[in-house]
């Protein structure tokens, strides 16, 4: 598309354009966003992005929908975030408006925007400035029917992305409140893998905060059963083994199914793994019969990287305690030569499989709908 065509097209993308022309233009744009070239082209044009943003306020439902879909597709590219971030205040208010019909679209858009750490920070800041803190977001997430027209499942990945930031983790893990506890039941939420995955990603990121492990593993939060339950099947253990397991994993019915999504299974195992970083945490995780659950999973597991995660965890659960000074595996100082060797091994591993995130990371695989 040359500059003149672009300007002409842009001219149709205005609120005061004739409805039929407007509709055609937005439809065309959406089509463009379906291809790599189209996306690249539009990503570099803040004027188009701003126009689309304005059109989300249009009267025609079709125009609004198409505009949102285009923006969602485009927001995957970090290059668009500069222009899009300008509208954050408006978007956030719409997100948490219980009556806003397109809250799901806004949610998906925000979830894409928050993947980049920089934009994520901006989202969080805008939330604070607009007085729409995390508390509101969690409330909306955990209230059934908060918005009659939007399921808001993408709040899951949004929360998960936000927990890239230590500030958000701190809020979620506030001991004097009841925030993270409200998320726990959603590790079993069957109706949406997006919501479920988002929660589990959030919890996994929170597990990087080892100072909170004792509290997380204790009675006030009791995180472990919620991580293990999706990994458990309808196994029948002998009575004494059964009674060792956390209450939520005892006497599961015969139709109990394991988590179907392998990425989610992997995240769950990673989260449990993180909880074994401290000696005290390791102790707790072991004594709650985690090994039993992971062993059974390992026998049934077919996905290679999930299997690998199982094996790593099993090693920790049945292995000997590390030597003195190594009790917190997250804080261990690795000597240089060992470090080098490990890095080489990591690179090898990477070449063989998908990258595993080393630190609290953004949600992969939740890009939102494309055309």
């Amino acid at each position: 598309m040359d500059e003149e065509q672009a300007r002409e097209l842009l001219g149709f993308l205005r609120l005061d354009t004739r409805p039929d022309l407007k509709g055609q233009a937005t439809g065309y744009i959406l089509g463009l966003t379906g291809s790599v070239e189209g996306r690249t082209l539009l990503a570099g044009r803040p004027d188009f992005l701003e126009a689309l943003l304005l059109l989300t306020g249009d009267r025609s439902l079709a125009v609004v929908k198409d505009s949102y879909h285009s923006l969602i597709n485009l927001s995957v590219a970090a290059a668009t975030h500069g222009a899009l971030a300008k509208e954050l205040p408006v978007l956030l208010h719409r997100l948490l408006d219980p009556g806003y019909a397109f809250a799901d679209q806004v949610c998906t858009l925000l979830s894409n925007l928050s993947r980049e750490e920089g934009t994520c920070r901006q989202v969080f800041q805008a939330m604070q400035e607009e007085g729409l803190g995390l508390a509101r977001a969690v409330e909306a997430f955990c209230t059934e029917g908060y918005n009659q027209k939007a399921a808001l499942h993408y709040l899951g990945p949004l929360l998960s992305n936000l927990t890239q930031l230590p500030e958000t983790r701190e809020f979620l893990l506030d001991r004097s409140r009841c925030v993270v506890q409200r998320l726990l039941p959603y590790t079993q939420y069957e109706a949406s893998a997006i919501r479920r995955g988002g929660v589990i990603g959030t919890l996994r990121n929170c597990c990087f905060e080892y100072k909170y492990h004792e509290w997380l593993l204790g009675a006030e939060v009791d995180l472990l059963p919620f991580l293990l339950l999706p990994l458990a099947g309808p196994e029948e253990f002998p009575e004494e083994e059964m009674e060792r397991l956390p209450v939520d994993l005892q006497y599961l019915p015969q139709d109990k199914q394991r988590e179907k999504d392998p990425d989610i299974r992997k995240m769950l195992l990673e989260a449990v793994m993180l909880l074994t970083a401290t000696k005290a945490g390791r102790q707790r995780v072991k004594e709650k019969g985690t090994y039993l659950v992971v062993r059974e999973l390992h026998q049934q597991e077919t996905e290679p990287d999930v299997l690998a995660a199982c094996e790593k965890l099993i090693q920790v659960l049945i292995g000997d305690e590390p030597e003195a000074g190594m009790e917190n595996l997250l804080e261990v100082e690795i000597p240089e030569d060992v470090e080098e060797r490990l890095q080489r091994l990591d690179r090898e591993e990477e070449r063989q499989q998908e990258t595993q995130s080393e630190g609290p990371g953004a949600q992969t695989g939740s890009q939102g709908p494309s055309r």
């Binding site: 004097s176 409140r177 009841c178 939060v221 209450v247 939520d248 006497y251 019915p253």
Partner: protein, 385 residues
């Protein structure tokens, strides 16, 4: 000045003189001064439960002042609230409820006060264990003041006691929306969640046990049916109609616990072991064998049981060689003699044998004894050839 003083002195003089001649009569009695002391309102350590105007006119007087009907309903209600709070502090919850109720009866226009009265009454009811009344009080309080945090906390605690765990959690979450750091609410929610999950586990455990018991019962029934053993059915059925199919052979005819609390069971070798009752009608005695292996013979048990003559055998005649065993066909009121060399299984398979209440029962009589002759009178007896 001097004149006035002088006048006072003059008036005082005859008054003072009185003390010299007359005894003061209004003083305390040296023997009962402590009781009298306690009756003076100002020196009371605690107020009496009931105020009797005749016993205690001063106190009754004070009471009528503070509960004066002329004061505004708000003032009266407030007084009742305070009274209730005092009783509450003393842990006199019954009285507290009464005071708060009186306060509410005033129907004063101060809704905040009424909400507090309801909430406080709810607390008193809570400590009396009247959780439902407490709950209805907090609901009433919240109608007046939906965000009254104390009412919400109390409501959550009531639901917890009533084991309505999801409701308890919902109330906690409502309260936390108002004050996200309210300690009691955070605690209570965690507790309710724990108890809810434990309860869910208990339900699962019970279900699993029921399933197991059921399948065990079915295995037993199959084993019994395979052996062509008939169970006595309580419902009236044609005696020749042998029930077909497991479903019909009602599990009720095979009660899981026999009369003496033992079950039939299938052992590891696939053999049935039955609880068996031996009756000795002559002396009204019984013997119970908790696990009679189906392939064991009666005679072997008899030899052991009567190796020594039982103490109730007054005529010393119950030697194993003298004994005859029978079972009764109740439907036809006929008796059948057992061949003691037979196994239990063989006997149970008898065409006219019906197992009642899961416990095969047999009668033991002495050969040719006068008692047995009597016992058989009027009955048809099928003897061994």
């Amino acid at each position: 000045m001097e004149a006035a003083a002088g006048q006072a002195e003059e008036a005082a003089a005859p008054f003072l003189d009185k003390f010299q001649s007359q005894r003061y009569t209004g003083g305390f009695n040296p023997k009962s001064w402590e009781q009298e002391f306690d009756k003076i309102p100002m020196f009371m350590k605690k107020s009496p439960a009931e105020i009797d105007p005749e016993q205690n006119p001063d106190l009754a007087c004070l009471q009528s002042i503070i509960f004066d009907e002329d004061r505004s309903p708000e003032e009266q209600a407030n007084t009742y609230k305070n009274e209730g709070n005092e009783y509450f502090k003393e842990k006199n919850y019954k009285k507290a409820v009464i005071s708060y109720t009186e306060g509410l009866k005033k129907k004063c226009s101060d809704q905040d006060l009424n909400a507090v009265l309801y909430t406080n009454r709810a607390a008193a009811q809570f400590y009396l264990g009247n959780y439902r009344s407490a709950l209805s009080d907090v609901i009433a309080a919240r109608k007046l003041k939906p965000n009254h945090l104390k009412a919400i906390i109390r409501g959550a605690l009531c639901h917890l006691e009533l084991k309505n765990f999801p409701e308890a959690m919902a109330w906690c979450e409502e309260g936390l929306r108002i004050d996200s750091k309210e300690k009691k609410l955070v605690e209570t929610r965690a507790k309710a969640d724990r108890l809810k999950r434990a309860e869910q586990r208990d339900v699962r455990k019970a279900k699993l046990k029921e399933k197991k018991d059921q399948s065990q019962k079915e295995v037993l029934l199959t084993a019994i049916k395979e052996r062509n053993i008939k169970l006595f059915l309580e419902a009236s059925k044609e005696e020749d109609e042998i029930s077909d199919g497991l479903g019909e052979m009602s599990l009720n005819g095979l009660s899981s616990d026999s009369v003496t609390g033992t079950k039939i069971y299938l052992d590891d070798n696939g053999n049935l072991n039955w609880p068996v009752l031996f009756l000795y009608p002559e002396y009204g005695q019984t013997d119970f064998i908790s696990a009679f292996h189906e392939d064991s013979r009666f005679i072997d048990h008899i030899l052991v049981m009567f190796a020594e003559l039982p103490p109730w055998d007054l005529e010393r005649k119950y030697h194993s060689s003298n004994l005859e065993l029978y079972f009764e066909d109740e439907a036809r009121e006929e008796m059948y003699q057992l061949n003691t060399e037979n196994t239990l299984l063989q006997v149970l398979q008898h065409q006219r044998y019906f197992v009642k209440a899961g416990t095969p029962t047999f009668l033991v009589l002495v050969k040719q004894s006068p008692f047995s002759k009597n016992y058989f009178f009027g009955k048809k007896v099928h003897r061994l050839k």
